[in-house]
């Protein structure tokens, strides 16, 4: 059902209904395996459900479409924290059980359970801490932060946490140990996401998403609950694959994304060749409007700048005006444009753009040669020719939109500042390119009125 935008919504509702049934079923039908007792503390359970439900609905309804990646990251963190908390409580329960065992009796039979608890705690808290940092970074509240030897320290912390977990499996009675694992995993989660650049955030969120899935599956093992297990593993597998797909779209390995911190080591290289790039040419609004309305095909390349300016609606308006003048207007969407895969599609869909007009990268690249004008709105790295020509560039090898095949390229940007990845873009200095400076929304509004007057 998810393979088509139209039926996907139904699929989502079905999933939501399934979840409701699973929750209600657990509340009313669950029986303890040994004693056969029903659950109690209904007041607490329903209290929690209502509080969480109300806050969740309000937050999800209020959030702006541009802030969607943050929201997903935040909710993901909640799930991770939930899994970690379950592990904590279950361990507490288990250690009471062990303590009450007669002296000398082996608790070897409990070891797999302890292993699962430790895993759930480890993965859940890494996912929680990581998601919180990712949320802060997407919000712009937390800046990239890295220091020498961070990777080694990270690996050391991870190894230590895993080592402690292994020790815990053998000696499942130490309370100090479980809190040590909790603390280590939280710190690891923070340091793990800290140095990763904003351009790679989508990959990280997807990865953390699959982590939480695995943590949920651990819970499924713990309670021998098929629903949790199935859901968790499904998300874990799907999330991992999605992560890999995204890495492929950027032509980088997962290891490269996680270890090679993007912004830091590239800044020097970019500024070194920045001076020799010569002049760029500006275009006036009326000229831009003229060439667009007299061309037969216009391709719009949206980027995060469009999202920031909230210009998706006015962009659609321009599309309609141009279409009314007999111009074919299409959108070329790079898989990693924006801050999440498919982020641009969602934004344009919000503005009522027909999704059949949104071309994926390969389709768009086939059509650029027959395009008269390419209008780039706040996109930068996804059209940077350095990805094809300059092996020294940090984005070298990333597939890009070949906007240079078109007859004219008009770039709308707020300034000449480099894009999110911090790399100079050669495209802006090419003879075919003309720059149209200004906030995307303002520029598009002016373009609309200019085109109308022609």
């Amino acid at each position: 059902m998810l393979s088509n935008p139209a039926s996907a919504r139904k699929g989502n509702l079905v999933a939501a209904a399934g979840m409701t049934i699973a929750i209600l079923g657990t509340i009313f039908l669950y029986r303890d395996a040994e004693t056969g007792a029903y659950l109690h503390n209904y007041l607490w359970i329903f209290g929690g459900l209502i509080i969480g439900g109300v806050i969740g609905t309000l937050a999800a309804r209020k959030v702006k479409m541009t802030a969607m990646p943050e929201m997903v990251s935040l909710f993901n963190g909640m799930g991770g924290a939930c899994a970690a908390l379950i592990s904590l409580v279950e361990f507490n329960h288990l250690s009471h059980l062990i303590a009450s065992m007669p002296e000398g009796e082996s608790h070897a039979a409990l070891r797999p359970t302890v292993l699962i608890i430790a895993l759930g705690l480890l993965i859940g808290s890494v996912s929680f801490a990581g998601s919180m940092i990712a949320w802060g970074k997407l919000n712009g509240k937390i800046k990239d932060f890295s220091f020498a030897g961070q990777n080694i320290l990270n690996l050391f912390m991870l190894a230590l946490a895993i080592g402690l977990s292994a020790y815990l499996v053998m000696m499942p009675s130490s309370h100090v140990l479980i809190y040590a694992i909790l603390g280590l995993s939280l710190i690891y989660g923070v340091f793990f996401v800290m140095p990763i650049g904003g351009a790679d955030m989508p990959v990280v969120i997807s990865l953390l998403n699959s982590f939480t899935g695995v943590a949920a599956a651990c819970g499924g093992f713990l309670y021998d609950n098929k629903v949790m297990l199935t859901g968790g593993i499904l998300v874990g597998a799907a999330g991992t694959l999605l992560t890999i797909l995204m890495c492929k779209a950027m032509n980088r390995s997962l290891k490269n994304v996680l270890i090679g911190s993007f912004g830091g080591n590239t800044a020097s290289g970019a500024s070194a060749n920045g001076g020799a790039q010569g002049h760029f040419k500006e275009i006036s609004l009326s000229d831009a409007a003229t060439i667009m309305s007299y061309s037969s095909k216009v391709m719009i390349v949206p980027g995060y700048g469009l999202a920031v300016a909230q210009a998706q609606h006015i962009c659609h308006e321009l599309e309609e005006i141009l279409t009314g003048k007999g111009v074919t207007v299409k959108y070329a969407i790079h898989p990693v444009a924006g801050r999440m895969p498919g982020h641009m599609n969602v934004l344009l869909a919000e503005a009522d753009v027909n999704y059949e007009k949104m071309l994926e990268m390969e389709q768009a690249n086939d059509e650029f040669s027959s395009t008269d004008v390419v209008l780039i709105l706040g996109a930068n790295d996804v059209v940077n020719p350095a990805a094809k020509s300059d092996p020294a560039s940090p984005i070298y090898g990333m597939p890009i939109l070949d906007v240079e095949l078109a007859k004219n390229v008009v770039v709308n940007k707020r300034s000449m500042k480099p894009g999110y990845a911090g790399i100079e873009n050669d495209l802006f200095f090419r003879p075919k390119t003309s720059m149209l400076f200004g906030d995307a929304k303002k520029v598009l509004e002016d373009l609309c009125s200019e085109v109308k007057n022609i």
Binding site: L2, N12, I45, G79, I86, V89, I205, G342
Partner: protein, 103 residues
């Protein structure tokens, strides 16, 4: 080690489900166009909210004098519910936008 082998034996069926689900997961993603990757991610995000079931069980089993379990469990239920509800609502909002154009 023996206890682990025993455990694997006892949970054979469950492990089969795990393997099956890995394949289903891969199959599902392979078919989704990149247009839908954002809703998909948030949909998957909602689905792993099933952890809430664990939270409910923890909560429901807690003795009424075990305050640590009660407080932590209560928190877990709230967080889990946030994940589930928020995830589904966000996904629905995104997909709704795709649908509007159809009519």
């Amino acid at each position: 080690m023996e206890s682990f082998l025993q455990w694997i034996y006892a949970n054979q069926q469950v492990l089969y489900i795990v393997i099956l689900m890995i394949f289903v997961g891969i199959e599902v993603i392979g078919r989704v166009p990149s247009v839908l990757h954002t809703p998909l991610m948030s949909g998957a995000n909602a689905i792993h909210g099933v952890v809430i079931i664990g939270a409910i069980i923890v909560m429901g089993k807690a003795e009424s004098d075990n305050y640590m379990a009660l407080v932590l469990g209560f928190l877990a239920v709230i967080l889990g519910m946030l994940n589930v509800v928020g995830g589904f609502v966000v996904t629905d909002r995104m997909l709704e936008m795709f649908k509007k154009k159809k009519q």
